[in-house]
């Protein structure tokens, strides 16, 4: 686990140092100095704008193709990763002090999440096959973004209310549950989409027969539900059960509908909320409720998670167009191949109306996928998607700033930034 943790930090550092190629002017925002109400904290606010920009000149130069690729394609990390890390050691002070790395901050909390999940599943079956299928994705190679955000929020809220650096066992459980619900849906997604590859390994439906995989998904969900029930908190159970319903309804929305062009985007956003944001939003809400927060505070949490989740999915949809398979651990343009029109395509539609019939026929005809892919790159669809994601991240950061200053609260802001600038 330790090695995984450190490689994650490495990856994060690389990402932090990557900058969009299309912003030609590098401004260095002078950090706002805000006096906290206690008078002794000088802290930095307004974070998404303040990052280490000075290295980007180098990044642009280091990447010889930077000028000819689409503006939204980020610099390849593979070729430049080493030089970035070196530069970091050379300029340790170039990252502002508040730039806490949430993964490093929560290393102790996160390192055992997968172990605990596997133990919870093991306690619930004596059958080898079932155990193997249901733990297949809990191998510690996931991004664990959901548990990370849930624990960050839990600690930030605990500090906000009680000025304590603490994490309740029940809050840790919610972090695990969020990852379990997510994985249960992944397992079922794999059967639905017939995907072959996920997280850099053969997906679960290639390894075992579909009926068993389906049942294993039900099993994970059942164990997660039992864990939810053991929290013995009626409201938390309601909040987390809503997630399951949202996930399924989101999946139904994805099956296809014949909405008009005007409705399409709101349909897409609703689907995105249900499939991705609801889980993050409701699990951070749950940890906040467990801390004994009032409704207003729970709502701040919820809105933070909702914005973060929407941004997360928008970036995911964007990466589907720009990343290479090796980075994502799954094939790219996968959404198009599945017949799904995501934000980049919907934005591209404004410039290239010829995409409309393709969307309607779910890119089924030969050449549709390639053509759509090309048009998206010719349009400003990727930039616009990025812009929308950024707005959500800024809103998330704004909400996080409403909480009492703490490393975890800062971590929430960095997490928003991480979601926006991640490479995979």
């Amino acid at each position: 686990m330790a090695s995984i943790g450190s490689s994650r930090i490495c990856a994060r550092v690389q990402e932090k140092l990557c900058q969009w190629g299309h912003s030609p002017i590098f401004k260095r925002h002078s950090p706002l100095i805000v006096r906290s109400k206690f008078g002794f904290h000088s802290l930095v606010k307004n974070v998404p704008e303040t990052r280490n920009y000075s290295l980007n000149n180098v990044a642009a130069m280091a990447s010889p193709v930077a000028g000819c690729v689409h503006p939204c394609i980020r610099p390849e990390i593979a070729s430049t990763a080493t030089s970035y890390s070196t530069m970091r050691t050379q300029q340790p002070g170039s990252l502002p002090e508040y730039q806490v790395d949430p993964y490093a901050l929560l290393e102790d909390d996160l390192k055992d999440v997968y172990v605990y999940i596997r133990e919870a599943l093991k306690r619930n079956t004596y059958q080898k096959d079932l155990y193997e299928i249901s733990t297949y994705y809990f191998d510690g190679h996931g991004k664990a973004i959901r548990p990370m955000v849930a624990i960050l929020m839990a600690r930030a809220i605990n500090y906000h209310i009680y000025k304590e650096k603490s994490l309740l066992p029940s809050q840790r459980e919610v972090a695990m549950i969020s990852e379990m619900i997510h994985t249960a849906s992944l397992v079922h997604d794999d059967v639905i989409d017939q995907s072959d590859f996920r997280r850099g390994k053969p997906s679960v439906n290639v390894m075992w027969n579909h009926k068993k995989v389906t049942m294993a998904g039900d099993f994970i969900l059942a164990v997660a539900s039992m864990m939810i029930a053991r929290l013995r908190n009626n409201d938390v159970t309601l909040v987390l059960s809503q997630v399951v319903t949202d996930l399924v309804q989101g999946e139904f929305m994805q099956l296809g509908s014949k909405e008009t062009e005007n409705e399409r985007f709101s349909h897409y956003l609703t689907k995105t909320y249900r499939k991705t944001a609801s889980l993050i939003a409701n699990s951070v809400k749950a940890v906040t409720m467990l801390a004994g927060a009032d409704e207003q505070l729970s709502d701040i949490s919820y809105q933070y998670g909702r914005n973060l989740g929407l941004a997360f999915q928008l970036v995911d949809d964007l990466l589907d167009f720009v990343s290479s398979s090796s980075q994502m651990g799954k094939p790219t343009a996968a959404d198009l191949k599945l017949g799904l029109a995501t934000a980049p395509v919907l934005f591209a539609c404004e410039k290239f109306p010829e995409l409309n019939p393709m969307i309607m026929r779910r890119f089924q005809e030969p050449g549709d996928v390639e053509k759509a892919f090309e048009l998206v790159h010719k349009s400003r669809g990727l930039e616009q998607t990025q812009f929308l994601a950024k707005q959500h991240c800024q809103e998330a950061a704004r909400l996080a700033n409403l909480l009492q200053e703490s490393p975890y609260q800062k971590g929430l802001i960095v997490a928003a930034d991480y979601v926006l600038n991640r490479m995979k």
């Binding site: 079956t125 009926k211 389906t214 039900d218 399924v248």
Partner: protein, 419 residues
């Protein structure tokens, strides 16, 4: 599938009965006045042994809702309307989902609904405290609203499991037919939809012990699909019969713990019991236990509720297992049904016939196997099994005070016996 056949069987049997009654009635009518013949008719009906349809219909009257209360609510939801639309595309594709759907829609009476019905009857038979607020009660049915919701959850979980079981394993086929793939997608999503609905319904009960209990029933259902050897379509095959006799200790019914599966395999009764506790007994038992919990009954009565549901489900299963071996029954049968397991225990060499089905259960010579089963002790032993579980279910029932609902449950058990 066998359940629906059972339904048809009962249905035709019932028609026969009522027509014979009609004949006798007609004879009576020729002899007497009209008014007296009516009395006679009623008397005849009372004397007649309880039959299934009658038992169920009477029971439905006791708790109010005459038709499946579930199907309507489902059919009105957006998601299911969507599914219905997609199902049409599947017509002609032979996807098993169609069969499952047909059973749910056309044979609801004898299949799904009976489970919810039993939960409601148990709720009513046990009653609830007199000072329960009016708002929480369904006065007409004599149960709590929460208990009715739980009965719905029972049916949803069961249906979801059947739908998920109906997936086709497509990964072995190189050129997968588009519509089969689509069928799988729909089956998976419909099952998930029911499961997610049960999550919300359960959460709304605001009783975390019940949520935990019912979630563990979902876990047990999933576990059931992993027991013993499987063919490529995940159809169950019996485990190789054991020669040594090992006593299986874990029938303690600590209801939240998972079952130690491997130790139970190879012995006819133990293997059969384990399989069907997991895929049926657990859900019905835990639902009955849960409904008593919702009404605030003492823990020991709750546990008896669990045992009642479990034994009833097992008796039911034994009854279903016998059906393909009746005189005029045709076609294949489950290789893990009680008569087959007993036959295997009786003659372990029979396992060679079973082994032919390791690729696909369709490769087994069912006619030959059936002959062996019929000539062995399997059928009798299955009858014993059913009798035993019926008896235990009735014993548990006697813990409840005498009432219409209790009688209805006893009638259902008696009707099952009568097959």
């Amino acid at each position: 599938m066998s359940l629906s056949k059972l339904g048809l069987f009962y249905l035709s049997k019932n028609n026969l009965c009522s027509s014979s009654v009609a004949v006798r009635n007609y004879v009576d009518f020729q002899r007497r006045e009209l008014s007296t013949s009516k009395v006679q008719f009623a008397k005849l009906a009372q004397e007649k042994k309880p039959d299934w349809n009658k038992a169920v219909t009477e029971a439905e009257k006791i708790v109010g809702y005459p038709t499946s209360f579930l199907s309507l609510r489902w059919l009105l939801s957006d998601e299911i309307a969507n599914v219905a639309l997609h199902l049409r595309k599947l017509v002609g594709s032979n996807h098993p989902l169609l069969k499952t759907a047909k059973e749910i829609i056309y044979n609801g009476k004898n299949n799904m609904q009976a489970w919810g019905l039993i939960v409601l009857l148990v709720s009513k038979a046990a009653g609830h405290s007199a000072d329960t607020p009016d708002l929480e009660q369904d006065k007409a049915a004599g149960v709590l609203h929460s208990q009715r919701a739980l009965a719905e959850v029972t049916e949803m979980i069961r249906t979801s499991h059947l739908v998920h079981k109906g997936l086709v394993n497509l990964q072995l086929q190189a050129n997968v037919a588009e519509d089969l793939m689509f069928g799988n997608k729909i089956a998976l999503l419909s099952g998930d939809y029911l499961l997610s609905n049960s999550c919300i319904e359960l959460a709304n009960l605001r009783n975390q012990e019940v949520v935990e209990l019912m979630s563990s029933a979902v876990r047990d259902l999933a576990e059931a699909e992993f027991v013993g050897p499987r063919d490529k379509q995940n159809n169950a095959l019996p485990a190789r019969p054991r020669t040594d006799i090992v006593e299986y200790k874990q029938f303690t019914d600590k209801t939240l713990e998972p079952w130690v599966v491997s130790e139970a395999l190879g012995d006819a009764v133990t293997e059969w019991t384990l399989r069907h506790v997991l895929n049926a007994g657990s859900l019905l038992g835990k639902s009955c236990q849960g409904t008593l919990k919702l009404a605030g009954h003492p823990v020991d009565l709750q546990e008896k509720g669990y045992l009642f549901g479990k034994h009833l489900a097992l008796a039911w299963q034994a009854c279903l297992d016998r059906e393909p071996f009746l005189l005029d029954a045709k076609g294949s049968f489950s290789l893990v049904s009680a008569p087959v397991l007993f036959a295997l225990q009786h003659d372990p060499n029979l396992y060679e016939t079973i082994e032919k089905g390791f690729e696909s259960v369709d490769d087994v010579d069912y006619d030959a196997l059936k002959k062996v089963v019929l000539n062995g002790p399997g059928i009798e032993k299955t009858k014993d099994l059913q009798r035993e579980h019926s008896k235990m279910a009735l014993e548990m029932l006697n813990e409840l005070p005498e009432s219409d609902a209790r009688n209805a449950l006893a009638n259902i058990i008696a009707a099952m016996q009568d097959l």
